[in-house]
Symmetry: C2
Subunit: 197 residues, 2 copies
DNA sequence: ATCATTTTGACCGACTGTCGTTCAATTATT
DNA sequence: AATAATTGAACGACAGTCGGTCAAAATGAT
């Protein structure tokens, strides 16, 4: 019973990870199921034992990579002391080299999610937003508790997170943004100058 | 020489607008070229005289609707007096009923743009960002000139605009956000409380 | 001016190739 | 023997192509 279920989940992950390189290189829209099957060393039909369609593979992949990322990031955040540095670290996802792959996958996933009505995808997006908003909330509240920040700062959590989302979309849809790290840091610095006591 | 001379640009617009209802209702991914041709009262082959592929139709549509929107919005903005109200008016795109159709089309366009390498699409996105950032910049600078805002506010223009983008993405990809107008207004109010002298 | 001829662009839908998806047959596992 | 997993051949849908038709406009002859 359980053993089989675990195996299925694991195999699903294996297939997704097996096609990661291909998806990163060409984008899910530019590769075929046959290519995917070949990359994962399985038959074409087997793909459909584990995924309802192509898009689901990207979904699985983003879930895997996101989880890994979150674990890494959680540790990373705890290393910083000042609230400002924590926020900056939080935003490093948008430019850090180590997150390059996840950014590309997340970009492709966003494109899919925007034109899909899949309940689970929407639920996943919602979960992510809630998680990150919670993180941000904790960071800001800690700053307020340490008397670093004004109490109004707490209300800006949603705004700060929306800023993050928007920055991401802008950075991946245009070539207009150079030196993203610099720009993000400036925004955080100015905002903190306003929020700090 | 030329035989029948049709205004190609105009016809392109006519076709795009002729399929607007269909695209709004079912989404570009769920309709066929044949349906599009039928909706626009032309033959299937003719579609390809004006568009390279399906996605280009959404692109044309977003360009048309965006231009109309910008003209409307520019007038709207000039009606407001206070900087805060202007910013709020700027953001009303994300929840106003009159912009509902454009939001849906823009959502579909974003999905396309995220997985496309089409130069013109990227250029269009960039243009939009630049235009809106400029609007925001003018609003904020006016506020500073009127001595309503601290001078640091100017540096936050990019951040405010990124916030707008992110808010949009979050609102269209999840069901998590209720009462969007309320939430946006709160963010603006808190931020202005910090930015005002 | 009138008419015949030629040229050209607009338009079209049958056709083709591709590819996502299904399914009956086969192989592996318990 | 029964059940589960795997497979690739076959299917069907559809995007995009292409050869051909048509009517308007240009040209030219009378």
């Amino acid at each position: 019973m359980l053993a089989i279920i675990v195996d299925k989940e694991q195999k699903k992950k294996d297939i997704a990870l097996g096609t990661k390189a291909l998806i990163l290189q060409d984008g899910i829209n530019n590769i075929t199921i046959s290519q995917i099957a070949k990359a994962a060393n399985i038959g074409k039909g087997t793909v459909y034992e584990y995924f309802k369609n192509k898009d689901e593979i990207v979904f699985e992949l983003v879930e895997i990579l996101m989880q890994e990322h979150n674990e890494r990031k959680e540790k990373q955040l705890s290393l910083h002391v000042s609230t400002r540095e924590k926020v900056k670290s939080f935003f490093s996802f948008f430019y850090a080299d180590e997150d390059k792959e996840l950014r590309e996958i997340y970009k492709q996933f966003t494109a899919i999610a925007l034109s899909s009505t899949n309940k689970e995808m929407i639920a996943f997006q919602t979960e992510c937003y809630i998680l990150y908003e919670k993180w941000m909330e904790n960071i800001i509240e800690e700053g307020i508790a340490k008397d670093e920040l004004k109490s109004e700062a707490k209300e800006l959590v949603m705004g700060i997170f929306a800023f993050a989302q928007g920055t991401f979309i802008m950075s991946v849809t245009t070539s207009a943004i150079e030196d993203l790290k610099q720009k993000i840091d400036t925004q955080i610095d100015i905002l903190f100058d306003l929020m700090e006591k």
